[in-house]
Symmetry: C2
Protein backbone atom coordinates (compact mmCIF):
# COMPACT_ATOMS: atom_id res chain seq x y z
CA UNK A 1 0.00 0.00 0.00
CA UNK A 2 1.39 3.43 -0.95
CA UNK A 3 1.32 5.96 1.87
CA UNK A 4 1.68 9.74 1.48
CA UNK A 5 3.97 10.81 4.31
CA UNK A 6 2.68 13.68 6.48
CA UNK A 7 5.51 13.72 9.01
CA UNK A 8 8.63 11.63 9.61
CA UNK A 9 10.78 11.52 12.74
CA UNK A 10 14.55 11.28 13.08
CA UNK A 11 15.70 8.47 15.39
CA UNK A 12 19.12 7.69 16.84
CA UNK A 13 19.17 4.61 14.63
CA UNK A 14 19.04 6.95 11.62
CA UNK A 15 22.11 8.72 12.95
CA UNK A 16 23.89 5.38 13.35
CA UNK A 17 22.87 4.36 9.82
CA UNK A 18 24.32 7.59 8.47
CA UNK A 19 27.59 6.55 10.13
CA UNK A 20 27.43 3.16 8.36
CA UNK A 21 25.47 0.94 10.74
CA UNK A 22 23.56 -1.90 8.98
CA UNK A 23 25.28 -0.99 5.69
CA UNK A 24 21.93 0.44 4.55
CA UNK A 25 21.62 2.44 1.35
CA UNK A 26 18.34 3.99 0.30
CA UNK A 27 15.77 6.37 1.78
CA UNK A 28 16.16 6.75 5.55
CA UNK A 29 13.35 6.98 8.09
CA UNK A 30 11.12 4.52 9.93
CA UNK A 31 9.03 6.84 12.13
CA UNK A 32 6.09 8.37 10.28
CA UNK A 33 2.46 9.27 10.07
CA UNK A 34 0.87 9.40 6.64
CA UNK A 35 -2.28 8.93 4.60
CA UNK A 36 -2.93 5.55 3.00
CA UNK A 37 -3.43 6.04 -0.72
CA UNK A 38 -5.08 2.68 -1.42
CA UNK A 39 -6.50 -0.46 0.16
CA UNK A 40 -8.60 -0.92 3.26
CA UNK A 41 -7.35 2.29 4.93
CA UNK A 42 -7.48 4.47 1.77
CA UNK A 43 -7.77 8.15 2.66
CA UNK A 44 -7.17 7.57 6.37
CA UNK A 45 -4.19 8.57 8.45
CA UNK A 46 -1.99 5.65 9.41
CA UNK A 47 1.21 4.73 11.17
CA UNK A 48 3.04 1.53 10.28
CA UNK A 49 4.89 -1.49 11.64
CA UNK A 50 8.36 -1.19 10.16
CA UNK A 51 9.10 -4.93 9.85
CA UNK A 52 7.79 -6.40 6.59
CA UNK A 53 7.62 -10.15 7.04
CA UNK A 54 7.23 -13.34 5.03
CA UNK A 55 4.76 -15.16 7.25
CA UNK A 56 6.29 -18.50 6.33
CA UNK A 57 9.68 -18.82 8.05
CA UNK A 58 10.20 -20.63 11.34
CA UNK A 59 10.17 -17.38 13.33
CA UNK A 60 7.01 -16.01 11.70
CA UNK A 61 5.31 -19.34 12.36
CA UNK A 62 6.63 -19.29 15.95
CA UNK A 63 4.83 -16.01 16.57
CA UNK A 64 7.92 -13.82 16.26
CA UNK A 65 7.15 -11.95 13.02
CA UNK A 66 9.29 -8.92 13.96
CA UNK A 67 12.21 -11.36 13.76
CA UNK A 68 11.23 -12.82 10.36
CA UNK A 69 14.32 -14.29 8.73
CA UNK A 70 13.39 -12.76 5.37
CA UNK A 71 12.19 -9.39 6.65
CA UNK A 72 12.79 -6.00 5.17
CA UNK A 73 12.66 -3.05 7.55
CA UNK A 74 11.43 0.39 6.57
CA UNK A 75 14.41 2.71 6.13
CA UNK A 76 16.77 0.24 7.81
CA UNK A 77 17.04 -3.00 5.83
CA UNK A 78 16.25 -3.50 2.16
CA UNK A 79 13.31 -1.09 1.99
CA UNK A 80 13.14 2.66 1.32
CA UNK A 81 11.97 4.64 4.33
CA UNK A 82 9.78 7.52 5.41
CA UNK A 83 11.92 10.60 4.71
CA UNK A 84 10.15 10.92 1.38
CA UNK A 85 6.83 12.02 -0.09
CA UNK A 86 5.68 8.42 -0.42
CA UNK A 87 6.49 5.08 1.15
CA UNK A 88 5.19 1.56 0.58
CA UNK A 89 4.25 -0.95 3.29
CA UNK A 90 2.11 -4.11 3.36
CA UNK A 91 -1.50 -3.29 4.25
CA UNK A 92 -1.27 -5.52 7.34
CA UNK A 93 1.45 -3.24 8.73
CA UNK A 94 -0.79 -0.15 8.85
CA UNK A 95 -2.61 1.09 11.95
CA UNK A 96 -5.26 3.80 11.53
CA UNK A 97 -4.98 6.88 13.72
CA UNK A 98 -8.02 8.19 15.65
CA UNK A 99 -9.03 11.78 14.84
CA UNK A 100 -8.19 12.94 18.36
CA UNK A 101 -4.51 12.13 17.80
CA UNK A 102 -2.64 14.87 15.93
CA UNK A 103 0.02 14.24 13.30
CA UNK A 104 2.68 15.51 15.68
CA UNK A 105 1.53 12.95 18.25
CA UNK A 106 1.05 10.07 15.83
CA UNK A 107 4.59 10.34 14.46
CA UNK A 108 5.76 9.11 17.88
CA UNK A 109 3.89 5.79 17.59
CA UNK A 110 6.93 3.77 16.47
CA UNK A 111 9.40 4.87 19.19
CA UNK A 112 6.60 4.80 21.76
CA UNK A 113 5.91 1.18 20.80
CA UNK A 114 9.61 0.45 21.33
CA UNK A 115 9.27 1.89 24.84
CA UNK A 116 6.14 -0.18 25.53
CA UNK A 117 7.98 -3.30 24.39
CA UNK A 118 9.99 -3.24 27.64
CA UNK A 119 6.86 -4.23 29.56
CA UNK A 120 6.27 -7.12 27.16
CA UNK A 121 9.71 -8.54 27.81
CA UNK A 122 10.45 -7.83 31.47
CA UNK A 123 8.30 -8.34 34.53
CA UNK A 124 7.73 -4.89 35.98
CA UNK A 125 5.82 -4.19 39.17
CA UNK A 126 5.18 -1.09 41.27
CA UNK A 127 7.61 -0.94 44.18
CA UNK A 128 10.57 -1.98 42.07
CA UNK A 129 13.45 0.45 41.77
CA UNK A 130 13.63 1.25 38.06
CA UNK A 131 16.33 3.47 36.57
CA UNK A 132 16.32 4.83 33.01
CA UNK A 133 19.81 5.66 31.76
CA UNK A 134 19.63 8.41 29.15
CA UNK A 135 17.42 11.48 28.84
CA UNK A 136 17.30 11.56 25.05
CA UNK A 137 14.66 10.72 22.46
CA UNK A 138 13.99 7.20 23.67
CA UNK A 139 14.76 7.75 27.36
CA UNK A 140 12.08 10.46 27.49
CA UNK A 141 9.43 8.14 26.07
CA UNK A 142 10.52 5.17 28.18
CA UNK A 143 10.34 7.29 31.34
CA UNK A 144 6.86 8.54 30.47
CA UNK A 145 5.62 5.02 29.73
CA UNK A 146 7.06 3.66 32.98
CA UNK A 147 5.50 6.59 34.88
CA UNK A 148 2.14 5.87 33.20
CA UNK A 149 2.52 2.31 34.48
CA UNK A 150 3.09 3.73 38.04
CA UNK A 151 6.66 2.45 38.22
CA UNK A 152 8.16 5.74 39.48
CA UNK A 153 11.35 5.58 37.38
CA UNK A 154 14.48 7.60 38.09
CA UNK A 155 16.03 9.03 34.93
CA UNK A 156 19.79 9.54 34.95
CA UNK A 157 20.93 11.91 32.21
CA UNK A 158 23.41 14.54 31.15
CA UNK A 159 21.24 17.37 29.81
CA UNK A 160 19.85 19.83 32.36
CA UNK A 161 17.15 20.90 29.92
CA UNK A 162 16.02 17.36 29.16
CA UNK A 163 16.02 16.37 32.83
CA UNK A 164 14.05 19.54 33.63
CA UNK A 165 11.48 18.52 31.03
CA UNK A 166 11.06 15.15 32.73
CA UNK A 167 10.88 16.81 36.16
CA UNK A 168 8.08 19.05 34.86
CA UNK A 169 6.13 15.84 34.18
CA UNK A 170 6.67 14.70 37.77
CA UNK A 171 9.41 12.19 36.92
CA UNK A 172 12.40 11.83 39.25
CA UNK A 173 15.74 12.74 37.70
CA UNK A 174 19.44 12.81 38.55
CA UNK A 175 22.42 14.16 36.69
CA UNK A 176 24.83 11.42 35.67
CA UNK A 177 27.63 13.26 37.44
CA UNK A 178 25.69 13.20 40.72
CA UNK A 179 23.99 9.80 40.54
CA UNK A 180 25.55 7.29 42.90
CA UNK A 181 25.71 3.86 41.28
CA UNK A 182 24.98 1.54 44.21
CA UNK A 183 24.08 -1.72 42.45
CA UNK A 184 20.61 -1.53 43.94
CA UNK A 185 18.19 -1.04 41.02
CA UNK A 186 15.88 -3.94 40.21
CA UNK A 187 15.67 -2.90 36.56
CA UNK A 188 17.87 -0.53 34.54
CA UNK A 189 16.68 0.52 31.09
CA UNK A 190 19.67 1.50 29.00
CA UNK A 191 18.69 4.25 26.53
CA UNK A 192 21.97 6.13 26.27
CA UNK A 193 22.58 5.31 22.63
CA UNK A 194 26.24 4.79 23.50
CA UNK A 195 28.54 1.80 23.84
CA UNK A 196 29.31 2.85 27.41
CA UNK A 197 25.63 2.56 28.37
CA UNK A 198 25.73 -1.14 29.19
CA UNK A 199 28.80 -0.66 31.38
CA UNK A 200 27.04 2.09 33.31
CA UNK A 201 23.88 0.01 33.62
CA UNK A 202 25.90 -2.80 35.22
CA UNK A 203 27.00 -0.33 37.91
CA UNK A 204 23.41 0.62 38.76
CA UNK A 205 21.67 -2.76 38.63
CA UNK A 206 21.52 -5.01 41.68
CA UNK A 207 22.82 -8.58 41.68
CA UNK A 208 20.26 -10.84 39.89
CA UNK A 209 18.64 -7.67 38.51
CA UNK A 210 17.72 -6.92 34.89
CA UNK A 211 19.22 -4.56 32.34
CA UNK A 212 17.05 -3.74 29.33
CA UNK A 213 19.36 -2.91 26.44
CA UNK A 214 17.93 -0.53 23.84
CA UNK A 215 21.02 0.98 22.21
CA UNK A 216 22.24 -0.70 19.05
CA UNK A 217 25.92 0.11 19.03
CA UNK A 218 28.61 -2.03 17.52
CA UNK A 219 31.71 -0.75 19.31
CA UNK A 220 32.31 -2.24 22.75
CA UNK A 221 36.00 -1.51 23.25
CA UNK A 222 36.77 -1.20 26.93
CA UNK A 223 33.45 -2.58 28.14
CA UNK A 224 33.85 -4.91 31.13
CA UNK A 225 31.16 -7.58 30.98
CA UNK A 226 32.45 -9.63 33.95
CA UNK A 227 29.78 -8.07 36.24
CA UNK A 228 27.09 -9.81 34.15
CA UNK A 229 28.47 -13.15 35.38
CA UNK A 230 29.63 -12.10 38.86
CA UNK A 231 26.34 -10.37 39.69
CA UNK A 232 24.26 -12.86 37.64
CA UNK A 233 22.59 -10.05 35.72
CA UNK A 234 19.94 -10.67 33.08
CA UNK A 235 20.48 -8.47 30.02
CA UNK A 236 17.43 -8.27 27.76
CA UNK A 237 17.76 -6.79 24.29
CA UNK A 238 14.65 -4.93 23.23
CA UNK A 239 13.69 -3.51 19.85
CA UNK A 240 10.33 -2.86 18.16
CA UNK A 241 7.06 -2.95 20.05
CA UNK A 242 3.27 -3.08 19.73
CA UNK A 243 2.11 -0.20 17.50
CA UNK A 244 -1.59 -0.59 18.32
CA UNK A 245 -0.88 -0.16 22.03
CA UNK A 246 1.25 2.90 21.24
CA UNK A 247 -1.60 4.48 19.29
CA UNK A 248 -3.95 3.69 22.17
CA UNK A 249 -1.62 5.36 24.70
CA UNK A 250 -1.44 8.44 22.47
CA UNK A 251 -5.24 8.47 22.14
CA UNK A 252 -5.57 8.28 25.93
CA UNK A 253 -3.07 11.17 26.20
CA UNK A 254 -0.94 9.12 28.58
CA UNK A 255 2.23 10.40 26.96
CA UNK A 256 3.17 14.04 26.34
CA UNK A 257 4.89 14.30 22.97
CA UNK A 258 4.66 18.00 22.10
CA UNK A 259 7.45 19.09 24.51
CA UNK A 260 9.74 16.47 22.92
CA UNK A 261 9.64 18.13 19.49
CA UNK A 262 12.76 20.25 19.02
CA UNK A 263 12.17 21.32 15.43
CA UNK A 264 10.36 20.57 12.20
CA UNK A 265 12.14 20.76 8.83
CA UNK A 266 10.76 20.56 5.30
CA UNK A 267 11.81 17.45 3.38
CA UNK A 268 14.15 19.48 1.14
CA UNK A 269 16.20 20.28 4.25
CA UNK A 270 16.30 16.66 5.51
CA UNK A 271 20.13 16.52 5.70
CA UNK A 272 19.99 19.58 7.94
CA UNK A 273 17.31 17.92 10.06
CA UNK A 274 19.53 14.90 10.59
CA UNK A 275 22.41 17.13 11.63
CA UNK A 276 20.11 18.98 14.03
CA UNK A 277 18.94 15.69 15.55
CA UNK A 278 22.56 14.88 16.40
CA UNK A 279 23.02 18.07 18.47
CA UNK A 280 23.23 17.49 22.25
CA UNK A 281 20.18 19.60 23.14
CA UNK A 282 17.98 18.09 20.45
CA UNK A 283 15.22 15.64 21.30
CA UNK A 284 12.85 14.81 18.43
CA UNK A 285 13.37 16.42 15.04
CA UNK A 286 10.56 16.04 12.52
CA UNK A 287 10.62 16.19 8.74
CA UNK A 288 7.55 17.37 6.77
CA UNK A 289 7.36 16.44 3.07
CA UNK B 1 35.89 -24.23 60.91
CA UNK B 2 39.36 -25.40 59.88
CA UNK B 3 39.37 -27.95 57.06
CA UNK B 4 42.28 -30.20 56.12
CA UNK B 5 42.37 -30.19 52.33
CA UNK B 6 42.42 -33.61 50.65
CA UNK B 7 42.25 -32.44 47.05
CA UNK B 8 41.90 -29.08 45.32
CA UNK B 9 40.94 -28.41 41.70
CA UNK B 10 42.30 -25.82 39.28
CA UNK B 11 39.58 -23.74 37.62
CA UNK B 12 39.75 -21.29 34.70
CA UNK B 13 39.00 -18.53 37.19
CA UNK B 14 42.28 -19.41 38.92
CA UNK B 15 44.08 -18.95 35.63
CA UNK B 16 42.40 -15.54 35.17
CA UNK B 17 43.34 -14.56 38.73
CA UNK B 18 46.97 -15.47 38.03
CA UNK B 19 46.75 -13.00 35.12
CA UNK B 20 45.46 -10.28 37.47
CA UNK B 21 41.67 -10.72 37.42
CA UNK B 22 39.94 -9.57 40.66
CA UNK B 23 43.27 -8.15 41.93
CA UNK B 24 43.40 -11.07 44.35
CA UNK B 25 46.49 -11.79 46.43
CA UNK B 26 46.64 -14.77 48.76
CA UNK B 27 46.22 -18.51 48.51
CA UNK B 28 44.44 -19.56 45.29
CA UNK B 29 41.82 -22.29 44.97
CA UNK B 30 38.08 -22.58 45.54
CA UNK B 31 37.40 -26.18 44.47
CA UNK B 32 38.19 -28.71 47.20
CA UNK B 33 37.26 -31.70 49.25
CA UNK B 34 38.64 -31.92 52.76
CA UNK B 35 38.12 -33.15 56.31
CA UNK B 36 36.50 -30.81 58.81
CA UNK B 37 38.81 -30.49 61.82
CA UNK B 38 36.22 -29.10 64.23
CA UNK B 39 32.53 -28.31 64.72
CA UNK B 40 29.45 -30.24 63.72
CA UNK B 41 31.18 -32.05 60.83
CA UNK B 42 34.45 -32.78 62.71
CA UNK B 43 36.26 -35.76 61.20
CA UNK B 44 33.94 -35.97 58.20
CA UNK B 45 34.75 -35.25 54.59
CA UNK B 46 33.21 -32.01 53.35
CA UNK B 47 33.01 -29.69 50.38
CA UNK B 48 32.20 -26.02 50.84
CA UNK B 49 30.24 -23.08 49.55
CA UNK B 50 32.87 -20.57 48.53
CA UNK B 51 30.89 -17.39 49.36
CA UNK B 52 31.22 -16.36 53.01
CA UNK B 53 28.37 -14.02 53.78
CA UNK B 54 27.25 -11.54 56.42
CA UNK B 55 23.60 -12.54 56.68
CA UNK B 56 22.59 -8.95 57.39
CA UNK B 57 22.89 -6.93 54.18
CA UNK B 58 19.97 -6.21 51.85
CA UNK B 59 20.96 -9.03 49.47
CA UNK B 60 21.43 -11.65 52.21
CA UNK B 61 18.04 -10.68 53.60
CA UNK B 62 16.55 -10.80 50.09
CA UNK B 63 17.57 -14.45 49.77
CA UNK B 64 20.61 -13.80 47.60
CA UNK B 65 23.43 -14.73 50.00
CA UNK B 66 25.88 -15.63 47.22
CA UNK B 67 25.67 -11.92 46.30
CA UNK B 68 26.25 -10.66 49.87
CA UNK B 69 27.61 -7.12 49.68
CA UNK B 70 30.22 -7.90 52.37
CA UNK B 71 31.17 -11.37 51.17
CA UNK B 72 34.58 -12.90 51.03
CA UNK B 73 35.10 -15.67 48.48
CA UNK B 74 37.43 -18.61 49.03
CA UNK B 75 40.60 -18.08 46.99
CA UNK B 76 39.01 -15.26 44.98
CA UNK B 77 38.13 -12.31 47.19
CA UNK B 78 39.59 -11.49 50.61
CA UNK B 79 40.00 -15.08 51.81
CA UNK B 80 42.82 -17.59 51.41
CA UNK B 81 41.85 -20.56 49.28
CA UNK B 82 42.14 -24.31 48.95
CA UNK B 83 45.58 -24.82 47.40
CA UNK B 84 46.96 -25.32 50.90
CA UNK B 85 47.07 -27.92 53.67
CA UNK B 86 44.33 -26.12 55.57
CA UNK B 87 41.54 -23.67 54.80
CA UNK B 88 38.92 -21.97 56.97
CA UNK B 89 35.23 -21.61 56.15
CA UNK B 90 32.10 -20.89 58.20
CA UNK B 91 30.49 -24.12 59.41
CA UNK B 92 27.29 -23.25 57.54
CA UNK B 93 29.23 -23.37 54.26
CA UNK B 94 30.21 -27.04 54.65
CA UNK B 95 28.39 -29.96 53.02
CA UNK B 96 29.25 -33.49 54.15
CA UNK B 97 30.15 -36.03 51.49
CA UNK B 98 28.53 -39.50 51.46
CA UNK B 99 30.94 -42.42 51.69
CA UNK B 100 30.02 -43.61 48.20
CA UNK B 101 31.48 -40.45 46.68
CA UNK B 102 35.27 -40.58 46.27
CA UNK B 103 37.59 -37.64 46.88
CA UNK B 104 38.24 -37.39 43.16
CA UNK B 105 34.50 -37.08 42.58
CA UNK B 106 33.78 -34.75 45.49
CA UNK B 107 36.37 -32.20 44.37
CA UNK B 108 34.05 -31.51 41.40
CA UNK B 109 31.17 -30.38 43.63
CA UNK B 110 31.85 -26.65 43.23
CA UNK B 111 32.10 -26.49 39.41
CA UNK B 112 29.27 -29.02 39.13
CA UNK B 113 27.09 -26.72 41.25
CA UNK B 114 27.96 -23.88 38.87
CA UNK B 115 26.70 -26.06 36.00
CA UNK B 116 23.50 -26.94 37.88
CA UNK B 117 22.91 -23.22 38.52
CA UNK B 118 21.94 -22.82 34.84
CA UNK B 119 18.74 -24.73 35.47
CA UNK B 120 17.95 -22.49 38.44
CA UNK B 121 18.15 -19.37 36.30
CA UNK B 122 16.82 -20.38 32.89
CA UNK B 123 13.72 -22.31 31.96
CA UNK B 124 14.93 -25.46 30.25
CA UNK B 125 12.66 -28.08 28.77
CA UNK B 126 13.20 -31.22 26.70
CA UNK B 127 12.67 -30.47 23.03
CA UNK B 128 14.57 -27.20 23.16
CA UNK B 129 17.67 -26.87 21.03
CA UNK B 130 20.46 -26.29 23.54
CA UNK B 131 24.05 -25.62 22.49
CA UNK B 132 27.06 -25.59 24.82
CA UNK B 133 29.92 -23.47 23.49
CA UNK B 134 33.20 -24.78 24.85
CA UNK B 135 34.46 -28.30 25.55
CA UNK B 136 36.69 -27.40 28.50
CA UNK B 137 36.45 -27.91 32.25
CA UNK B 138 33.08 -26.24 32.67
CA UNK B 139 31.63 -27.12 29.26
CA UNK B 140 32.18 -30.82 30.00
CA UNK B 141 30.24 -30.61 33.28
CA UNK B 142 27.50 -28.40 31.83
CA UNK B 143 27.00 -30.84 28.95
CA UNK B 144 26.77 -33.81 31.33
CA UNK B 145 24.29 -31.99 33.58
CA UNK B 146 22.12 -30.99 30.61
CA UNK B 147 22.26 -34.56 29.31
CA UNK B 148 21.25 -35.87 32.76
CA UNK B 149 18.27 -33.51 32.51
CA UNK B 150 17.39 -35.06 29.10
CA UNK B 151 18.04 -31.85 27.20
CA UNK B 152 20.19 -33.44 24.47
CA UNK B 153 22.76 -30.63 24.22
CA UNK B 154 25.09 -30.11 21.29
CA UNK B 155 28.62 -29.20 22.40
CA UNK B 156 30.64 -27.03 20.03
CA UNK B 157 34.35 -27.15 20.80
CA UNK B 158 37.86 -27.02 19.43
CA UNK B 159 39.57 -30.06 20.96
CA UNK B 160 39.08 -33.37 19.18
CA UNK B 161 40.04 -35.28 22.34
CA UNK B 162 37.58 -33.38 24.53
CA UNK B 163 34.77 -33.70 22.01
CA UNK B 164 35.53 -37.42 21.70
CA UNK B 165 35.22 -37.74 25.46
CA UNK B 166 31.76 -36.15 25.32
CA UNK B 167 30.79 -38.35 22.38
CA UNK B 168 31.79 -41.43 24.41
CA UNK B 169 29.16 -40.34 26.95
CA UNK B 170 26.53 -40.16 24.20
CA UNK B 171 26.58 -36.37 23.92
CA UNK B 172 26.31 -34.75 20.49
CA UNK B 173 29.34 -32.72 19.46
CA UNK B 174 30.54 -30.51 16.62
CA UNK B 175 33.90 -28.95 15.89
CA UNK B 176 33.75 -25.15 16.00
CA UNK B 177 35.20 -25.01 12.50
CA UNK B 178 32.36 -27.18 11.16
CA UNK B 179 29.41 -25.92 13.23
CA UNK B 180 27.04 -23.80 11.19
CA UNK B 181 25.78 -20.87 13.26
CA UNK B 182 22.16 -20.56 12.11
CA UNK B 183 20.61 -18.44 14.85
CA UNK B 184 18.30 -21.30 15.71
CA UNK B 185 19.24 -22.46 19.22
CA UNK B 186 16.74 -21.79 21.99
CA UNK B 187 19.49 -21.65 24.59
CA UNK B 188 23.25 -21.27 24.20
CA UNK B 189 25.45 -21.85 27.24
CA UNK B 190 28.70 -19.96 26.81
CA UNK B 191 31.55 -21.83 28.52
CA UNK B 192 34.44 -20.87 26.27
CA UNK B 193 36.31 -18.89 28.89
CA UNK B 194 37.10 -16.32 26.22
CA UNK B 195 35.94 -12.80 25.43
CA UNK B 196 34.87 -13.98 21.98
CA UNK B 197 32.45 -16.51 23.49
CA UNK B 198 29.53 -14.12 23.81
CA UNK B 199 29.96 -12.97 20.21
CA UNK B 200 29.88 -16.59 19.02
CA UNK B 201 26.87 -17.36 21.22
CA UNK B 202 24.97 -14.50 19.58
CA UNK B 203 25.53 -16.20 16.22
CA UNK B 204 24.05 -19.50 17.41
CA UNK B 205 21.07 -18.30 19.45
CA UNK B 206 17.69 -17.69 17.83
CA UNK B 207 15.89 -14.34 18.05
CA UNK B 208 14.28 -14.03 21.53
CA UNK B 209 16.48 -16.91 22.67
CA UNK B 210 18.68 -17.06 25.76
CA UNK B 211 22.45 -17.00 26.18
CA UNK B 212 23.80 -18.19 29.51
CA UNK B 213 27.10 -16.44 30.12
CA UNK B 214 29.57 -18.32 32.30
CA UNK B 215 32.95 -16.85 31.31
CA UNK B 216 34.22 -14.00 33.45
CA UNK B 217 36.44 -12.11 31.08
CA UNK B 218 37.13 -8.40 31.22
CA UNK B 219 38.33 -7.72 27.69
CA UNK B 220 35.57 -7.21 25.13
CA UNK B 221 37.44 -5.38 22.39
CA UNK B 222 35.81 -6.04 19.06
CA UNK B 223 32.68 -7.66 20.45
CA UNK B 224 29.53 -6.60 18.57
CA UNK B 225 26.62 -6.53 20.99
CA UNK B 226 24.09 -5.05 18.54
CA UNK B 227 22.57 -8.54 17.94
CA UNK B 228 21.44 -8.58 21.59
CA UNK B 229 19.10 -5.68 20.75
CA UNK B 230 18.26 -6.57 17.14
CA UNK B 231 17.45 -10.20 17.97
CA UNK B 232 16.05 -9.31 21.42
CA UNK B 233 18.30 -11.86 23.11
CA UNK B 234 18.25 -12.49 26.85
CA UNK B 235 21.77 -12.83 28.26
CA UNK B 236 21.86 -14.39 31.72
CA UNK B 237 25.03 -14.23 33.78
CA UNK B 238 25.51 -17.32 35.91
CA UNK B 239 28.02 -18.01 38.66
CA UNK B 240 27.91 -20.25 41.75
CA UNK B 241 25.28 -22.89 42.26
CA UNK B 242 23.68 -25.27 44.76
CA UNK B 243 26.39 -27.42 46.36
CA UNK B 244 23.97 -29.85 48.03
CA UNK B 245 22.41 -30.70 44.67
CA UNK B 246 25.89 -31.14 43.18
CA UNK B 247 26.81 -33.62 45.93
CA UNK B 248 23.51 -35.43 45.33
CA UNK B 249 24.21 -35.72 41.57
CA UNK B 250 27.66 -37.12 42.34
CA UNK B 251 26.16 -39.59 44.82
CA UNK B 252 23.63 -40.72 42.18
CA UNK B 253 26.55 -41.11 39.71
CA UNK B 254 24.75 -38.92 37.19
CA UNK B 255 27.98 -37.23 36.23
CA UNK B 256 31.22 -38.96 35.15
CA UNK B 257 34.15 -37.05 36.64
CA UNK B 258 37.03 -39.55 36.41
CA UNK B 259 37.61 -39.06 32.66
CA UNK B 260 37.83 -35.31 33.23
CA UNK B 261 40.91 -35.58 35.45
CA UNK B 262 44.01 -34.82 33.39
CA UNK B 263 46.57 -34.98 36.18
CA UNK B 264 47.15 -34.80 39.91
CA UNK B 265 50.06 -32.83 41.38
CA UNK B 266 51.36 -32.64 44.93
CA UNK B 267 50.91 -29.27 46.61
CA UNK B 268 54.63 -28.50 46.40
CA UNK B 269 54.26 -28.53 42.59
CA UNK B 270 51.15 -26.30 42.54
CA UNK B 271 52.68 -23.68 40.19
CA UNK B 272 53.35 -26.51 37.73
CA UNK B 273 49.78 -27.73 38.15
CA UNK B 274 48.44 -24.30 37.25
CA UNK B 275 50.62 -24.19 34.16
CA UNK B 276 49.42 -27.67 33.20
CA UNK B 277 45.79 -26.58 33.63
CA UNK B 278 46.37 -23.83 31.06
CA UNK B 279 47.49 -26.28 28.35
CA UNK B 280 44.99 -26.78 25.50
CA UNK B 281 44.49 -30.51 26.05
CA UNK B 282 44.08 -30.22 29.80
CA UNK B 283 40.69 -30.62 31.46
CA UNK B 284 40.76 -30.86 35.26
CA UNK B 285 44.06 -30.68 37.10
CA UNK B 286 44.02 -31.62 40.78
CA UNK B 287 46.38 -30.67 43.58
CA UNK B 288 46.93 -32.98 46.56
CA UNK B 289 48.40 -31.46 49.73
Amino acid sequence: VRVRVLLAGVCSTDLEIVKGYMGFTGVLGHEFVGVALEGRHAGRRVVGEINCVCGGCDLCRAGLPTHCRRRTVLGILGRDGAMAERLVLPEANLHPIPDAVTDRQAVFAEPLAAAIQIGRQVHLAPGQKVIVLGDGRLGQLVAQVLAAWKLAPLVVGKSEAKLALLASLGIATARAADARAAKDADVVVECTGTAAGLGAALEFVRPRGTVVLKSTVADTAGLNLAPIVIDEITVVGSRCGPMAEAVAMLARAEVRTEPLITAEYPLQRAPEAIKAAALPDSIKVLIRP
